[in-house]
Amino acid sequence: MQFLIYRYDPDDGREPRMQAYELDGFDAGAKLLDALLRIKAELDPSLSFRRSCGEGVCGSDALNINGRNGLACVTSLAELAQPVTIRPLPGQPVIRDLVVDMSQFYHQYRAVKPWLTVHDPAPETEYRQTPAERARLDGLYECILCGCCSTACPSFWWNPDKFRGPAALLQAWRFLADSRDQATAERLAELEGPYRLFRCHSIMNCTDVCPKGLNPTRAIGKIKQLMLKHLV
């Protein structure tokens, strides 16, 4: 199989380039991460990329694979056209090879205060939710923060410092939708303005690439609806 991989080392003074590798003998059902690990072990130990769990749970190995963001560990080699072109996540500063600096992504995530805010005294035993209230969080809590969605979003490319991005907005809605959270007004006020929420033009790149099958565009629409409800 042929691979074309983005290479960049800030220390060697060279421009970023695409490097070709060829490697065969993969098991049926092998994933792209298996190929990257073998390339590193057998062909080029200098190749850098992030990985951890290897089964689509940790979100470390998000890459741009044949022009589309996805997780290397859950992308089957068999379904990829050759040469398999692998680049770092688009729009993020490259630290080295396929490793990007996700600081802006995490900054936007922290900015939506992704934790439960309760003003009442804490209950003595536990916070109670009905099954229906709990069900509202399905499709929201599963996010693994891999960054595939936000780095596939042109609005996030142009305004990564001001637009929260689909991943952070999905989490904003996850806490707005939570029956136990009591900071709805503060959360909505924080998202107001022309940039933080409203740079989303609903082109749905985020929903298209999400490896967990989540729908940030729908969550963003729900936030807009809730804002409207609070005003009228």
């Binding site: 042109p154 022309p194 409203f198 409207l228 005003l231």
Partner: protein, 112 residues
Amino acid sequence: MSWRAASGLRPWLLQRLSAVYLAAYLLFSVVVWVGGVADFHHWQAWFAQPLVNAASLLFLVALLGHAWVGTRDILMDYVKPVGWRFALLSLFGLAFLISLGLGLRGLLQVGA
């Protein structure tokens, strides 16, 4: 949060609502025009009807409001230098105002 402070929600809502009206007006127009507009006098008489005239005025306002929000969105996304953004926003704003003036003049003349 108040309507005054809703600087993100207001333009978004304006664009959504105007889009609904634009679609309805255009559909209505297509039906009428496919039905047949014989000549200029027929056309003039059609726009001179008070309801059609008022609906067309509203269409003009909705169209320009819709276009203004869209243009502003595009310029906010792509034009970073403040001077350029201000110049382009002013240019488009002026062009839209002139369009509004010309459109108003035409419609009011026909309607009068």
